[in-house]
């Protein structure tokens, strides 16, 4: 995160050559290179990292996408695809010597088949607009990342996005049937199919979550699900987050897969409650929101059981949403958690580790110790059902020491996640942000296997290079830096 605002000097000759080659088939307004035109693309949702791209290309159809890739391949220009730019790991950070391929203009819902419960959509379509289009048929698209009003489905595929309902309804990979993908050579391949599986290797699964390193998705066929008849949520407050964690385990042990199961710790509750008046008890060490959805009978049965389990697990307050308005109010607090925490401090740094749930109390204790070590506060929001923890580290980016501490704090949290048997990223992706932590999670043989797979799709490493999978050289450097942490060599050099 630190020292990442930097600029590679533009190679104007190269820039002219690439623009000329692209404008041979693209309209003038579809190829941008003026500093002021390309600056809006300098970062994605992780704004601590910025880099102005050499060229921005804005294709309007699949043919143009293919032609742009073919051109870049011929000229050996690296390409970074970008959807809505809401990603939180810098996956769409441009390259100063590369083309930023914006998929934003491919925003048509091509077809929606209510009987087959599928929709064919272009990558720039917003996640929520699929559900909106499906709503008249009683259907919806299940994965609902918190950015769903803005994020694009193409970006969701690249990141394998989840959401608060993914324990029950799965991630993007579980909710798509087919992809049309442009290869770096500019050819179209189809992965998956109209049925529930396809011949040969499951390249659909491999492509999903590959962060733009294997191909550029030009069309997605998503599955639509019937909208549940009803939903209700239980709010339970605990004096201790470990007890709350045990309550989650007790719900699962009772054979219930909640539609959503979220935990917030006290710093988060204190930030949220004055912000949205969700009715959260501010004296609680942690609260759980546990949602049931399905038919009326299913929900009534499950809610009754969840209520009892929360009480038996030691909740000092249990409330069930009485109507849809109250259900939405309970959720409003959770959905406003990030902006509410954001008001407490000039900046916050959102982490995304996943841990085995039983290690939660231990991990939270570890984070408390780190708060003292790095002299920074941390609020925790937790997708408790699936173990995905979002610690929000509060800092002030204008203070270089705080910025450095926030970065080190984050890396130490990720290290802890790996140590307890978890992973450095549950849903935000590696991007540039967590690339060094990949060296901790995977050994060199595993990283080499990733590189070999990358090579199978993109032998000249032109698709989003420098993201997601670190080079072994980089890991060797990182290992050295780790040993001498605090006495890093060449602190003035960019390190992203």
């Amino acid at each position: 995160m630190s020292a990442s605002v930097h600029a590679i000097p533009v190679d104007f000759e190269r820039q002219r050559a690439v623009c000329a080659a692209l404008r041979a088939f693209m309209p003038e307004h579809g190829v941008l290179f003026d500093r002021e035109d390309v600056t809006p693309y300098e970062c994605d949702g992780l704004s601590a990292y910025r880099q102005v791209p050499m060229v921005v290309a804005l294709p309007e159809n699949e043919e143009q996408v293919c032609a742009i890739l073919e051109t870049c391949y011929a000229l050996r220009v690296p390409v970074t695809a970008r959807g809505a730019g809401t990603g939180l790991s810098g996956g769409a950070l441009p390259l100063g010597n590369g083309v930023l391929l914006s998929m934003a203009k491919l925003m048509k819902i091509v077809t929606l088949d209510p009987l087959a419960r599928t929709a064919r959509v272009q990558p720039g379509v917003r996640n929520l607009s699929i559900s909106e289009a499906a709503a008249p048929h009683g259907l919806y698209y299940a994965p609902d990342p918190s950015s769903q009003i803005a994020c694009s489905i193409g970006g969701n595929v690249a990141e394998n996005s989840g959401g608060v309902h993914c324990l029950k309804y799965g991630l993007t990979v579980h909710n798509i049937l087919k992809l049309r993908v442009a290869t770096i050579e500019g050819e179209i391949i189809e992965l998956g199919g109209g049925g529930l599986d396809s011949a040969g290797y499951d390249l659909l699964a491999l492509m999903t979550g590959s962060e733009g390193l294997l191909g550029v998705v030009t069309e997605i066929t998503v599955k639509l699900l019937p909208r549940p008849e009803c939903a209700q949520v239980v709010l339970a407050a605990f004096d201790d987050v470990g007890t709350a964690g045990q309550a989650v385990a007790n719900v699962i042990a009772a054979g219930i897969i909640p539609a959503g199961m979220e935990m917030m710790d006290q710093p988060t509750i204190l930030a949220v409650e004055p912000f949205v008046n969700a009715g959260y008890p501010t004296d609680a060490a942690g609260i759980l929101l546990c949602e049931s959805d399905g038919t009326r009978e299913e929900v009534a049965d499950e809610i009754r059981r969840i209520e009892r389990i929360m009480e038996d697990s030691g909740a000092h307050l249990v409330r069930v949403s009485r109507d849809e308005a109250e259900r939405l109010r309970f959720w409003a607090g959770r959905k406003a958690a990030f902006p509410a925490v954001g008001r407490l401090s000039p900046d916050y740094y959102c982490m995304d580790g996943t841990i085995p749930r039983k290690r939660l109390a231990e991990v939270l204790r570890g984070i408390t110790v780190m708060e003292k070590k790095y002299e920074l506060r941390c609020a925790n929001v937790f997708h408790a059902g699936d173990g995905n923890l979002h610690p929000l580290i509060l800092y002030d980016a204008n203070d270089p020491r705080q910025l450095q501490n926030a970065e080190d704090f984050g890396a130490e949290i990720l290290k802890l996640c790996i140590d307890v048997g978890g992973t450095i990223t549950g849903e935000h992706g590696v991007g540039v942000e967590k690339i060094d932590s990949m060296c901790v999670q995977f050994n060199s043989a595993e990283l080499e296997a990733f590189h070999a797979l990358k090579h199978a799709f993109d032998e000249h490493a032109l698709l989003n290079p420098g993201k997601a999978v670190p080079t072994l050289h980089r890991c060797a450097e990182f290992g050295r830096m780790h040993v001498h942490s605090g006495a890093e060599k060449f602190p003035e050099l960019p390190r992203f």
Partner: protein, 352 residues
């Protein structure tokens, strides 16, 4: 005696050095599936046992040679199951074979496939290198999703050593309904129902009868049964188990068995031979002596693919031919994981 995983790695390195193919074998319950195997047998059944099972984390991790039946029994004891209802086909099916074949049973369209439930795995690649991908947590997007790529690759990319799977709770109650229905009516109903919030976990049409399994909270099952109508099948569990393991009468006989995986709304197939429909219309089993070309053409027109599942003319490959671009990519993926090409050559496609 050394650890079986070390022995496998040694065998792989020796085979790679000598460029000798290896035929990776579990319980042998699915040797009929795919193209014929060649090479020296690498028996992985010695590497067995459940490593870790945390019911409240919804995760089970076991070695590849563990009998599927053992895993399911351990899960049943905790009120859980494998959500994709994997076929056993015989008594000896192992976890490794289950994941390598990637086949799923009647619950698949309603709960997910084998690959959907895979959270992570450990495997030996074509150099005998021990690799871990994914993990034991529900959400993990670090690195490419190699675990799901391996699922269904029929052992052509590596020797699976250990697999972590997501567990699901057993439903508190189940009920199977059946009724007389023509095939086209059944297809229409299956698709219509799937668009409604009903607790359906399996559907099948065979011999002019439509079967539907409901599962979940008892009141929800009863309420859905009242909505759908039809008579209750006394031993529903046996019906679905026989279907899953192909012990249903439809699967006996001499005609080649084809598996057509299609769009659920693909119309009735105009092909000669008996048909059985599963997966809400997305899976059509066909017993037919028709030529492979015609069957595959029909599958293509249903936006799907056709597998020669059992029997038939081995000169037509078991799996649907790949477009040239995809075949090229498959060979390169194979090359990445198994550079010398020693694992199960030809089992999936003749070219690699």
């Amino acid at each position: 005696m050394s650890d079986p995983a070390t022995q496998f790695a040694d065998a792989i390195r020796a085979a790679a050095d000598a460029k000798r193919p290896l035929n990776i074998c579990g319980g042998g319950s699915k040797t009929f599936y795919g193209n014929p195997s060649i090479g020296e047998t690498l028996d992985v059944t010695t590497y067995r046992g459940i490593i870790e099972y945390e019911p409240t984390e919804l995760v089970i991790t076991a070695r590849a040679g563990t009998p599927l039946a053992d895993i399911e029994a351990a899960m049943r004891e905790q009120g859980q199951m494998l959500g994709f209802e994997p076929p056993h086909f015989g008594g000896n099916a192992t976890l490794g074979g289950c994941i390598a074949a990637g086949l799923s049973g009647p619950r698949r369209p309603y709960a997910g496939s084998a690959r959907d439930f895979v959270l992570g795995l450990r495997l030996l690649d074509g150099r005998g290198t021990d690799l871990h991908f994914g993990g034991q947590v529900m959400k993990n997007v670090a690195g490419y999703d190699v675990s799901r790529l391996i699922t269904g690759s029929l052992g052509t990319l590596g020797v699976i050593l250990e697999v972590s799977l997501k567990a699901l709770p057993l439903p508190p109650s189940e009920m199977t309904l059946c009724r007389e229905q023509t095939q086209s009516e059944a297809l229409a109903l299956m698709n219509e129902w799937a668009g409604k919030p009903l607790p359906i976990t399996a559907t099948c049409h065979v011999d002019g009868r439509l079967y539907v399994r409901l599962a979940g909270a008892t009141p929800a099952v009863h309420s859905a049964a009242a909505k759908l109508g039809g008579e209750t099948l006394a031993d529903g569990a046996a019906f679905w188990r026989d279907l899953r393991d192909q012990r249903h009468a439809f699967f006996s006989g001499e005609s080649p068995l084809w598996r057509l995986s299609l769009s659920s709304i693909a119309p009735e197939l105009q092909l000669s031979g008996a048909q059985l429909i599963e997966w809400g219309g997305a899976l059509r089993w066909l017993r037919s002596d028709s030529d492979a070309m015609g069957i595959r053409k029909a599958a293509r027109s249903g936006d799907g693919h056709a597998t020669r599942f059992r029997g038939g003319d081995p000169r037509s490959g078991a799996f649907h031919p790949l477009p040239s671009q995809m075949l090229k990519l498959h060979k390169r993926v194979k090359q990445a994981m198994d550079p010398v090409g020693i694992f199960n050559p030809g089992r999936l496609y003749a070219d690699f």
